[in-house]
């Protein structure tokens, strides 16, 4: 599991790569949550290079979204592959955080008041 943090000026984009399962979450969680809470803007999460997401992966995304939400900020997930997208749909994840198809849609969603 790899994490690349990209500064977007007011916010940031966190790009994940690999399997976001229990071992994967163990590797990136601390850095992921720290990076998500560092900025003063929205956080985009790029899942286009993530092949699998387990319940622990979803938990990490929800935890980050909740902390940001408490600061009136938004976390937008984009680029989920079909199988991951299907899982997000099953667990109704869109009810708790916005899901975008690609980066440009994610940027638009993040900018919405």
């Amino acid at each position: 599991m790899e994490l690349t943090v990209e500064d977007l000026g007011h916010g940031c984009c966190l790009r994940l790569a690999g399997r976001l399962d229990s071992p994967g979450v163990d590797v990136v969680e601390t850095r992921f949550l720290a990076a998500a809470n560092q900025g003063r803007g929205a956080v985009l999460v790029d899942l286009s290079s993530v092949s699998f997401v387990s319940s622990m992966g979803i938990r990490m995304l929800i935890a980050a979204a909740k902390t940001l939400h408490a600061r009136n900020l938004r976390l937008v997930v984009f680029g989920a592959r079909p199988l991951v997208r299907e899982l997000f749909d099953t667990v109704a994840l869109d009810q708790i955080l916005p899901l975008a198809a690609d980066e440009s849609e994610a940027l638009q969603m993040a900018a919405r008041p």
Binding site: S22, F52, S55, R59, T90, Q95
Partner: protein, 402 residues
Amino acid sequence: MRGAGRFTLAGADPTIGTVNESPAPDDDASAGDRTVIRAQPRAPRLERQGWVHQLVVVEGAEPGRRFPLGAEALRVGRKPPSDIVVAEAEVSGRHCEVLVEAGHDSLVVTDLQSTNGTFVDGVRVQGRARLREGGLLQVGRLVLRHDHKPPQEVQASEELDRDLDKAGRYVQSLLPLPLHSGPVLTDWVLVPSARLGGDALGYQALDDHRFATWLIDVAGHGTGAAMHTVSVLNVLRQRALPGVDFARPEQVLARLNAMFQMDQHGGLYFTLWYGVHDRRRRCLDFACAGHHAGYLVDPQRQACKALHTRNLMIGAMPGARFAADQVEVEPGSRLYLFSDGAFDIATRDGRAFGLQDLLGLLLQPDTEGVGEAERLHRAVRGIARPGPFDDDFTVLVTTYEP
């Protein structure tokens, strides 16, 4: 044993190279002592004196059981005098031997020309093979892991094992016994991936014609997840949700969500499938919270119908709304509930096994003398790679008798 369990610095012999004539910058020159520089610096070799080799049962009759290795070879076979007896038809009488090789951290496995083979890390042993530390040895359906530890660590891990066993037995004791007679039959298999899992299941008659069934999957596994599972399980078992009609799945989910918000429960959430069968009305009311569908299979085993409602998992968001649905149930139908650990499986050949593969197994015929849940467990086990499952494996089968 001298030096037992301690690292011995075997390379600490004073093979001195040259003496640095000018004092090193960090030296106190007045003290007169100087840093001795090795001609060829080399890392000290760590000798693991007194360390214990063990084979630990990862999969088989007694998971967690440890077999220490001594000077003699450890024999594995179907019958005594084997040290590890595997009572399976496909295991040869004398199947293989495992031996400690002096000066090596790995073990040597010798296949004794067994009919069906000995496997080390998934590869069939041709004659002899090395079993590295942490490697897996498979004989029939028995899977053993090679542990190599200092004695005090072995003792500590044995104590921890005993504690985890007790905790595991407690969780198991909260699960209901299978029902083999009556209007509703149940049958289940729950195999935690760690000593303690995050999966649980339950069922109970609400009155003479309504029967509730549920399956819980707490995110993650291990002690934290298991403790959360226990509190949720006890609430459902005792029906300790004030003002809730347990025949109404959406009410049960909403109340549990209010009670188990992840912010107040160590950041843990859980998914749940909950359904109530009504024999008089021949229907099933159900709701999922972040859980995949349950599947209803007709008595002729022609098709399986997905029973799913799209709701968030329990604990993710305060005030979340939960929708329920209803389906007609033909008498003799079976309801299959399972955790995602039953289909997110890494296979022997690296092929992806998923939900559709598991659904294909549901429509296959019963195996004589084997419970339906166990039939599915064996089928998945046969496809999965050796070693413990990555996640808890849970299947609950409920049959609504005509």
